[in-house]
Each structure stands twice: as structure tokens, then as C-alpha cells.
């Protein structure tokens, strides 16, 4: 029995954090969000695997804070109940809406941070190899691979299409209204080219025998299986949390 942060432990951690996002009060969720961000810097195995993923993580943190603030403000304005907490631009902010917004935002943040931490610290090839070793269906692995590849190359592709549309005079650099109108001219080629490339990439992988991979092929790269104590602890934590919540709900 060993104790290490490998892929199985990371997956178990994501599972535990997701359960926490639904079962724990918002204050715990907010605390866990801070812990996840700290872990990204403090634990070597959870650090981004490349400079690109590191930048993506930082950028995503920034966006997520903006989205969370927006969710909280919107709920505070729209859900009218409790005391008035203040006002912004003439709109009153209500206590009930504020707490609902905070609960929703902290849950969303924890869910996304957990997934983000997993993907920035796990190279795609490692994940695919792990899934193959665990005997996941090759078709499912192929779909996952194509999806992740698409997401990985999405920013570069958007930039490319953005430049192409700019070159043909689309008002991509103008004000927010023009940019919104130009969005369609970016989205259409983005979706179409992504579908075409995914089909081609899937075909290419099939042409290299990916779907007909013999079961024995798993053994070629599979290291000696050894139970990871950390994975077991995290899984146990998830089950205990689920049982505790269920008991509390049953006992009123």
C-alpha cells in the first residue's frame, strides 16, 4: 500500500470535491476553493504541466471571479427577500438573493476548480493511457480524446478564425454591439471546422488501430498495479460524506 498523488487519487479528489459542492454549506465550499487554488501552487503533482496550462489556469481564475461576482449581483437584484443590503447603480441588493447567489457561486466555483485542477495537472496522454489501462471502452476513450483535443486547441482556433474574419472586414475589433454581431461569423466556422477536424482525427486514429486495440495491449505499458492509500482515503471520505448527508436528511 502506497500513498501518492497519481491519476486515480486525482480523480478521487475531483469526486470528493464534487460531492462537497453539493453536500456542504457554502462557507466550506468557499474554503475548499481557496484550498484547491493553494494546492495548485503548493503540491508539485497538482501543478500545471506546461506554461500554457499555467496561463490558462490563471486566466480561468480571473474569469471565474468575474462570473461569480456577476451571479451574486444578479441574484441579489432579482431575488427580493429579507433586508436591503445596499444598492448598485440604483438597483437594490436584497439579503435573500445575496445569500442564494453566494451559495450558487461557491458551488459553481468548487465544481469548476476541481475539474480545472485535474486537467491542468494531467497531461492528455497520461489520462488516455490511464483510461486504456483501466479497460475503458476504446470508443468512449476516443470520444473523450477528441473532445479534450478540441478544447485544448479551442483558443488557438478562435484566434485563427478571428484573424481570418478580420482579414475579410468583419467588425471584430469594433464596439460590443458590432462584436456581438460578428460572433456568428466566428462561431459558424469554429463549429464547422471543429466537426470536420474531429471526424478526420477520429478516422485517423481508427486507421491506426485505436479502436481495435487488443486487450493485451493494455499490458504493454501497464506498471505493476499497487493500491494507492490516498485514493482509498479520498473515496472513503466521499462515501462517508454521502452517508452522513443521507442520514441527516432521513433523521430530519
Amino acid at each position: 500500500m502506497i500513498l501518492r498523488i497519481d491519476l486515480s487519487a486525482k480523480l478521487a479528489l475531483v469526486g470528493l470535491l464534487w460531492v462537497c459542492a453539493f453536500m456542504l454549506p457554502w462557507a466550506y465550499q468557499a474554503f475548499l476553493c481557496v484550498l484547491v487554488i493553494t494546492a495548485r501552487f503548493a503540491i508539485p503533482q497538482l501543478r500545471p504541466q506546461s506554461e500554457r496550462s499555467s496561463k490558462a489556469f490563471s486566466r480561468f481564475l480571473l474569469y471565474s471571479v468575474a462570473v461569480a461576482t456577476f451571479v451574486i449581483l444578479l441574484n441579489s437584484m432579482l431575488i427580493r427577500g429579507g433586508a436591503t443590503m445596499g444598492s448598485i447603480l440604483g438597483f437594490s441588493l436584497y439579503e435573500e438573493g445575496l445569500f442564494f447567489g453566494v451559495r450558487t457561486a461557491s458551488r459553481l466555483l468548487l465544481l469548476t476548480y476541481a475539474v480545472l485542477l485535474f486537467f491542468v495537472s494531467t497531461p492528455l496522454k497520461e489520462l488516455i493511457r490511464f483510461l486504456q489501462q483501466k479497460g475503458l471502452s476504446p470508443s468512449f476513450t476516443l470520444i473523450l480524446l477528441l473532445t479534450l483535443h478540441f478544447l485544448d486547441h479551442l483558443p488557438a482556433r478562435i484566434h485563427q478564425i478571428f484573424l481570418a474574419q478580420q482579414a475579410r472586414g468583419a467588425p471584430v475589433d469594433a464596439g460590443i454591439v458590432s462584436r456581438s454581431r460578428a460572433l456568428l461569423s466566428i462561431l459558424s466556422p469554429l463549429v464547422l471546422s471543429s466537426i470536420v477536424e474531429s471526424i478526420d482525427r477520429g478516422t485517423a486514429l481508427e486507421l491506426r488501430g485505436f479502436l481495435n486495440r487488443p486487450q493485451d495491449a493494455r499490458l504493454i505499458t501497464q506498471p505493476t498495479a499497487e493500491r494507492n492509500a490516498l485514493t482509498i482515503i479520498l473515496l472513503a471520505g466521499t462515501i462517508i460524506l454521502l452517508l452522513a448527508t443521507l442520514s441527516r436528511w432521513l433523521l430530519g
Partner: protein, 277 residues
């Protein structure tokens, strides 16, 4: 090991009632030889290769296929309905999509194919090194596949298929994105495969196939227009322009005509440039 490829009366429609994408095509490629399919866009070149590789049969359930395919001793009535890898290896037109994206090094990219064939083991390293050496890309072994140039990616894509030692190698417009130097390298590689693997390649231009293939087939709208050895086509170049349908593939015959004309004046230089001498 190379295998003889025999296509008998291949007809193909994408669905019942759709026009014929390939019409009664018969072609025999002796083992170890190289045949080029030349034709304009929409001639049916890619369709033919995808059909031979088994992609069409597998992914288009409504496709109407008739005819017979024989690869070595194995015959497929009505053409294959599953992917024939590793017996048949297909390198797609866009080599960049052939790179799996799940391996960090070219060496591992080749290992990925070996793992898929379930062969793996101790002989893998020797096999990978020999394929890298034969294709002249040993220096790329530790490079990240996604950082390679177009020519390098083309050769890695080819290596990723050749590592499985297919009996028949299909190349879909392999020189589309290659400059003259990269084309010359690919030409040398294909000549090196002569006798070892049966090769069927496609192109919209006739120059490259003339320089590497033992036989060339001009295809248009799914029909075979002309077939012959490069020398024969060069000598018949003037007459080909008069064959029906030349407007669609006139560019090819015009080029042949030019080459024939040049060949008659400057035969030694042209033939040498095309690698026919």
C-alpha cells in the same frame, strides 16, 4: 510483406439512387509496385482509398458497394465493411490529423501504433529506429509531433503507418502541402519502398506520380479514363488531349503534353528529373 491488390468491377454509390461515385473500376497492382491515381477534384480518388481502407464500408451503412477486392490471398466480396489496418495502411491528405496528440515525442507516436497492433515488446525499439532511419527522420525522434513542419509531419504520419508494416500502403494526395525539397524526400522514400510494400497514391497533378509510380491511372467522375506506364503516357501525351472529357482533366493532359513535348526535345534531362532514368 507486400501483397498483390486486385480490384474487380468496383462500383460505389453513397446511397440508393445516388449517382455512382466510382463506376466499374478494375485495377490490379502487382505486389511491391506503386500505382498513382491522378484526377481532378471530385474524381473519386479519396473515395477509392477510403473504400479500400474499409472506412466507407464501416462508417456509411447505407453505402452501396459492389465488386470484389483481393489483397494477397484474402478476398472481400462486396468490399470490406471494417477497417483493414494493419493489412492496409492509409495516410490521410492532412497529415496533421494523423498525429494522435496523445504522445509527446515522435518516437512515442510510433510506439502508439505498435501498441494498437498489440505487438509491442522488446522488438519495438529496433522497429521504430529502423523506420525512423529509413524515412530519414531519426533526428526527429525526440521532437514534439505538434511542433514539426508540414514536410516533417508528412513523414512522421507516413512512419506512423509504416511502423505497422502494412501489406498495402495508401497515400491520399501526399504532396499537397509539401515544398520541392520535401517532395524530393518523399519521392526517395517511396522509391525505397519499391518491392517491399504495395503503394497506391493519389494526386491532382501528374508530375509526382510520373516520377515515382510504375503505373498511372487517370480517373474522372469515378471512371478510369486512361491507364499506363509513365513512359507510355509521356509518349501518348499529345493524343490524350483528344480523349473525351478532357475539359475536366485537361490540366493533367496538358501537363502530360508539355512533358511529352519537352521529353522529345530534352529527353535525358526531363527523364532524369522525373527519376525515370
Amino acid at each position: 510483406m507486400a501483397a498483390r491488390l486486385e480490384i474487380s468491377s468496383l462500383s460505389l454509390r453513397y446511397s440508393q439512387g445516388a449517382p455512382l461515385a466510382i463506376s466499374a473500376l478494375s485495377l490490379t497492382i502487382p505486389e511491391g509496385s506503386c500505382v498513382g491515381i491522378v484526377g481532378p477534384t471530385g474524381a473519386g480518388k479519396t473515395t477509392l482509398l477510403h473504400c479500400l481502407a474499409g472506412i466507407l464500408g464501416k462508417h456509411h451503412p447505407g453505402i452501396v458497394l459492389s465488386g470484389r477486392l483481393q489483397i494477397g490471398d484474402v478476398a472481400y466480396e462486396g468490399f470490406p465493411r471494417d477497417i483493414l489496418f494493419p493489412t492496409v495502411g492509409l495516410v490521410l491528405q492532412d497529415p496533421f490529423v494523423q498525429i494522435s496528440g496523445v504522445r509527446d515525442k515522435v518516437y512515442e507516436e510510433l510506439l502508439f501504433t505498435i501498441e494498437n497492433t498489440g505487438r509491442g515488446g522488446e522488438g519495438s525499439d529496433f522497429l521504430i529506429q529502423s523506420v525512423l532511419r529509413n524515412l530519414g527522420i531519426e533526428h526527429l525522434a525526440n521532437r514534439k509531433p505538434t511542433t514539426l513542419s508540414g514536410g516533417e509531419t508528412q513523414r512522421v504520419a507516413l512512419a506512423s503507418i509504416l511502423i505497422a508494416e502494412p501489406s498495402v500502403l495508401l497515400l491520399d494526395e501526399p504532396i499537397t502541402a509539401l515544398d520541392a525539397t520535401a517532395q524530393a524526400k518523399l519521392r526517395a522514400i517511396l522509391k525505397g519502398l519499391h518491392g517491399k510494400t504495395t503503394v497506391l497514391l493519389t494526386d491532382t497533378q501528374i508530375d509526382f506520380p510520373l516520377s515515382v509510380c510504375d503505373e498511372i491511372v487517370i480517373l474522372d467522375q469515378g471512371k478510369m479514363i486512361v491507364a499506363g506506364k509513365p513512359r507510355q503516357l509521356l509518349s501518348d501525351g499529345h493524343d490524350l488531349a483528344n480523349v473525351g472529357g478532357w475539359k475536366r482533366w485537361g490540366r493533367i493532359t496538358a501537363r502530360l503534353k508539355d512533358l511529352s513535348h519537352e521529353a522529345s526535345r530534352e529527353a535525358p534531362r526531363i527523364l532524369k528529373a522525373l527519376g525515370l532514368r
